[in-house]
């Protein structure tokens, strides 16, 4: 495909008969031979290997770690200072109007911070960081791949190669050795499953992927199942469920803003859009991200409008939706007026000109299995 970037695993994907599609200016595998449904179920039952090398790995450093942590707090409402060494935290970049510029992982590696940001936004994020983090060095790491191994058999599979991973807990971040190669490992992912993300020099990525795929428990997983897995786990896809028009409170991401950054906290505010976001943390937002369980079997996908029963005035919309293979039923998420966001609220979605009953539901739709 012309003008598209390729990850270090591109040739391997092709040899594995992946169906390649354009995604965020990369040529990426959407599925392999077994198809999305099987890949999804296999990940939940055993282990799946994902190439997430298209995502941005960004190193932020300063004269001292604390300086880098405090600098990043000017762009992220999470308590970055509160991330202990060897730990990782999920956060968001906010805009001046209180919207969301991107979501990201932030790891404290002792000497520096390692961020993982979305592929489609990585150049913008790096420009944003470089322009605003006074006194920090910001580097988009171009010579490392990122693999995710997700599912209950992940620990056993990866520990065969790198025994140290078995000691890690959910959201730990460690530097470990594999045959003399430095791996940056975190016990995290975006599927609702226990698992790992492993950063490795690009030149060795294929060898690691092949070593993992040699385990009977592990099969390669494409973007199709990645999307259905994260949807069942109630996790946001940037650009679909969250973007510059959604605030963290609307998006039900208050938990990414720790007490130290809220009103009355030691480091209250000080991030873009703080006045609106701090206010919404106290008095709520007019709309809220919720889960929807359609009553029937038809998937209700992004773009469908949501109504009160029998009313013609839309009160929300679906931002992600599809079939949840592990649930054997369709699931969706989206936004509704806050007054109608209570679990169990009966609403209607419009699909192909017809109204379909849906019920507001808690997320995750399926309990997560993190090793805490």
């Amino acid at each position: 495909m012309p003008n598209l970037n390729r990850t270090p695993l591109h040739d391997l994907h092709c040899e594995l008969d992946a169906r390649m599609v354009p995604f965020a200016s990369y040529e990426m595998p959407v599925q392999y031979y077994d198809g999305v449904l099987w890949e999804h179920l296999h990940t939940r039952a055993s282990a799946g290997l994902f190439d997430v090398s298209h995502m941005g790995q960004v190193r932020v450093s300063a004269d001292s770690l604390e300086e880098a942590q405090l600098a990043l707090e000017a762009l992220v409402p999470a308590s970055v200072l509160g991330i202990p060494e060897g730990r990782q935290r999920y956060g968001i970049f906010t805009s001046e109007t209180g919207g969301i510029l991107d979501d990201l992982m932030i790891a404290n590696r002792g000497d520096d911070l390692l961020l993982v940001v979305n592929a489609a936004t990585k150049e913008k994020d790096v420009a944003h960081l470089s322009a605003n983090l006074a006194g920090c060095a910001v580097t988009l790491i171009a010579d490392r791949a990122l693999l995710a191994l997700q599912g209950p058999a992940s620990e056993a599979a990866l520990a065969e190669l790198v025994p140290g991973v078995a000691e890690m807990r959910f959201m730990d971040a460690s530097v470990l050795d594999w045959n003399g190669i430095e791996l940056w490992v975190s016990r995290s992912g975006y599927t609702g499953e226990d698992g790992y993300e492993v950063s490795i020099p690009s030149s060795r990525a294929r060898a690691l992927a092949e070593a993992l795929l040699a385990c009977e428990a592990v099969i390669p997983i494409g973007l199709g199942a990645r999307d259905s897995l994260r949807l069942e786990a109630g996790l946001c896809l940037y650009g679909s469920d969250i973007d510059t028009t959604t605030t963290p409170v609307e998006a039900a991401l208050e938990w990414t803003i720790q007490k130290a950054r809220r009103r009355g906290g030691e480091r209250e505010g000080g991030f873009p859009g703080a006045s609106r976001i701090l206010e919404e943390l106290e008095s709520g937002a007019p709309r809220r991200r919720v889960g929807f369980l359609p009553d029937g079997r038809a998937p209700i996908r992004a773009g469908a409008r949501i109504f009160r029963e029998g009313s013609d005035e839309p009160i929300g919309d679906v931002t992600s939706g599809g079939f949840g293979p592990s649930l054997g039923r369709p699931v969706s998420m989206g936004y509704v007026e806050t007054g109608l966001s209570g679990t169990g609220t009966a609403l209607e979605a419009e699909v192909r000109g017809r109204r379909m009953p849906v019920t507001v539901a808690d997320m995750p739709f399926r309990p997560s299995t993190f090793k805490r």
């Binding site: 999305v36 449904l37 199709g224 599809g322 369709p330």
Partner: protein
């Protein structure tokens, strides 16, 4: 058997035609999780959206290839949409139509012509 450019197969018997989608189409769609069928007795015109197929990836429509009346639908697909992937040329037929003008069926592709098209 005749084939349309939209990857439908048509099994013609006089003015009756049974309609399904080809193996190639089923493979492209991926795992089918929901099929919405018209009601028997529905009158359709050529290119009317007649069937909705939802796969894990996306929704797609099957358009009526000819004018006529839907006289029977395959209710098995409501409970077992996966038949579309398992047996697209057999058990996963979608509808049976009574065609208004059987000469409309003359223009469709033969199996060889269809194979050339997807090659």
């Amino acid at each position: 058997m005749k084939y349309t450019e939209e990857h439908e197969w048509l099994r013609v018997d006089g003015d009756l035609v049974v309609i399904g989608i080809t193996e190639h189409a089923a493979e492209q769609l991926g795992d089918v999780v929901f099929v919405e069928l018209p009601e028997a007795g529905t009158q359709v015109s050529t290119d009317d959206d007649m069937v909705v197929i939802e796969s894990v990836k996306a929704a797609s429509d099957i358009a009526a290839p000819v004018d006529g009346e839907v006289i029977e639908v395959n209710d098995a697909l409501a409970d077992t949409p996966g038949l579309v992937n398992a047996d697209p040329l057999g058990a996963a037929w979608f509808v049976k139509m009574k065609v208004d003008d059987p000469s409309q069926l003359d223009g469709f592709m033969s199996e060889d012509e269809y194979k050339d098209m997807i090659a």
